[in-house]
Subunit: 383 residues, 2 copies
């Protein structure tokens, strides 16, 4: 085991600093698995592209039959529109300050927005010049955004407000059950899933019963979409993280560690017998400060993976990143691992949260050494 | 108070998405204050540029008389060397995999490296073709990197190893007392400072006493450098964060909230009376997930600032960011703030940790509307 964490073969690609790795085979397998599940359940598969943010990875979804996608910002939508995508949901409370950019996007594609307040509906109706589709977001328990599921009158009022506009065409009810991330294992996730669908389909019946026309239901989180086998009443799923997965999803049981398709190669720059630590060139700016608590209650910012010669395997036992500063990562290790690694070696870190980790980089390096460019959320072309 | 958090004047600069703001007046004031303190104490001022990572901000240091700087990676050193800096300390355990890049840097500038293991000294001695200066890093209690302060024999062995090489010229002992960040307020920081200096100067005497020649002492953290008035035995200080400060430094007492020179402008995209929350377009990819615990034990990821028309003021009461997802920020607010803000308004978030927050962006926007480019840690020019 101890000998299995040195990944020095990666130096052949010129890797000498923290570098974002992508295992294409695993990502394509994750995509195909979710696409098959959606097809089998008769669901529209509208994957969220906020996790990968790469035109190249987007092409792997195209190869799996995907033609409609989800993004989390108008800027991200413009990026994918420039790469040929023509049907996009911006699954984020519509930002009325970006009305001009929404118009640009809607001039090139079918755009679906998300609203949850009458003020936003009124502002969009006044400002938008291009017609768009509009979903009403429902808070089924995540307490982030959306009309609370137990306020049916507010839901109906918002649907009526949309139907009173010329530019916003009501499409249905959308939710992101983000509280699945706090669930206790598989059973907890499935309970969130069941409750969410019940709450969404009840509101759907209410809208239909009020004579407000067709009303689709769209749900979105990776834990529920990975673990559930049944989606009664659901029309569309929008998971995103599943393309790469991460330690958070593995902890929930939504994937195995062998499904994790991204990792960060880091040089070892120090080791200390006194502190029982390896020191990595690999810190908060390379991994993000997203954390998990381990069984002993310690914060963990990643784990060293075992290395198989051509890709990484599951996490190595007893090799958790227990502290991150800007560029340093500290790995608590036992004597055996300490003896097996030297400054100048490369190791591979499995990320706690692939969406945040990958957004720190401008490219992926595949395990064949290729570079796949990706956008970063804050590198926005200036007008 | 409630009316004082809308910063809609910023829309005049075209700001409609999360945008990193820089108050030039405050940053210059922070620089001048630290430069004056160093001069008064007879210290070499070698500021750390990892916080701002901007050639333009670097020029403000030049204007304050700075000619030698600190960086945290070889790539960052190459960036500043390309902008005319000729004397750089890479204050990070030397990464032997980057020997070629170190040679390139050392061909253009005076380069100072940091070592803490004999293996690294041996590898550098073998690989480097350009001469460099070398500091021995001491762990004075931060437990991140460095030879433990209570292992004088290991320190002497490392100094002797350096003196046995042709390319690495021993310069002195360097530390970063990062545990000052965990100290209890001003008294706690000053205790860390006093203990650190005592430990460093004792080792310095030991090195001199062993006939190993001149031995300088370099210290570095912003809390100690901001709060201490005396630096007996210290030759050089390397603080970095002080150029911008942040909520973490304000909490420690190392600055006031009025010294915080960077903040993030965020659009309000939702509000919920039921959840007593504002929803911001401004999440983990715009602020980082660095957190502080508030008095009630809740995690806080930033605080809304008051707004004075042309810049921000101190944090508004009762407006903490209590949850971040990838692009959403949730602000817990009272009724008065809830009533005072609407979707479409802009608000300003004070960051918990300015080093991590600013590294997410490719530019600063000044309060005069100018754009100052900055490098990001992971956007490295490819060979």
């Amino acid at each position: 085991m101890a000998a299995g964490i040195r990944a020095n073969e990666l130096a052949a690609f010129g890797i000498c600093r923290p570098t974002l790795l992508l295992d294409e085979r695993r990502a394509r397998r994750n995509i195909e698995r979710m696409a098959r599940k959606a097809a089998a359940a008769g669901l529209r598969f509208r994957p969220h592209f906020k996790t990968h943010q790469s035109a190249a990875v987007g092409d792997w979804f195209r190869a799996a039959g995907v033609s409609a996608i989800t993004v989390s910002s108008v800027d991200m939508g413009l990026y994918f529109a420039a790469h040929g995508w023509r049907d996009l949901t911006v699954a984020f409370s519509a930002n009325v300050l970006e009305s001009d950019k929404i118009d640009s996007l809607a001039g090139a594609c079918t755009v679906h927005l998300v609203v949850d307040t009458p003020e936003t509906v009124a502002a969009l109706a006044q400002r938008l010049r291009q017609p768009v589709q509009a979903w009403v977001e429902i808070d089924v328990g995540g307490r982030r955004a959306g009309v609370p599921w137990d306020q049916p009158d507010a839901v109906l009022a918002l649907v009526r407000a949309l139907r009173g506009t010329a530019s916003l065409r009501f499409e249905g009810l959308l939710t992101h059950a983000g509280h699945s991330y706090e669930a206790e294992g598989v059973a907890g996730v499935l309970e969130v899933h069941g409750t969410s669908i019940t709450r969404m389909t009840r509101l759907q019946e209410l809208v239909r019963g009020a004579g407000l026309g067709p009303c689709a239901v769209s749900i979105g989180d990776t834990p529920c979409c990975s673990l559930a086998q049944a989606f009664p009443g659901v029309d569309e799923i929008r998971p995103g993280n599943f393309v790469f997965y991460d330690l958070t999803q593995a902890r929930l049981g939504a994937c195995t560690e062998d499904d994790i398709a991204v990792a960060v190669a880091c040089p070892v720059v120090g080791k200390s017998r006194e502190r029982q630590q390896l020191v990595l060139y690999g810190g908060a700016v390379h991994l993000s400060k997203e954390s998990l608590r381990d069984a002993a209650g310690r914060m963990t910012y990643g784990r060293l993976a075992t290395w198989r010669g051509d890709s990484w395997g599951p996490a190595a036992a007893g090799a958790a990143l227990v502290s991150l500063s800007q560029e340093h990562g500290l790995v608590a290790v036992d004597e055996a691992l300490l003896a097996a690694v030297e400054p100048g070696d490369l190791v591979v870190v499995l990320p706690v949260h692939s969406c945040l980790c990958t957004d720190l980089y401008g490219e992926y390096r595949t395990l064949q050494g290729a570079s796949l460019p990706r956008r970063q959320s804050n590198l926005v072309p200036r007008d």
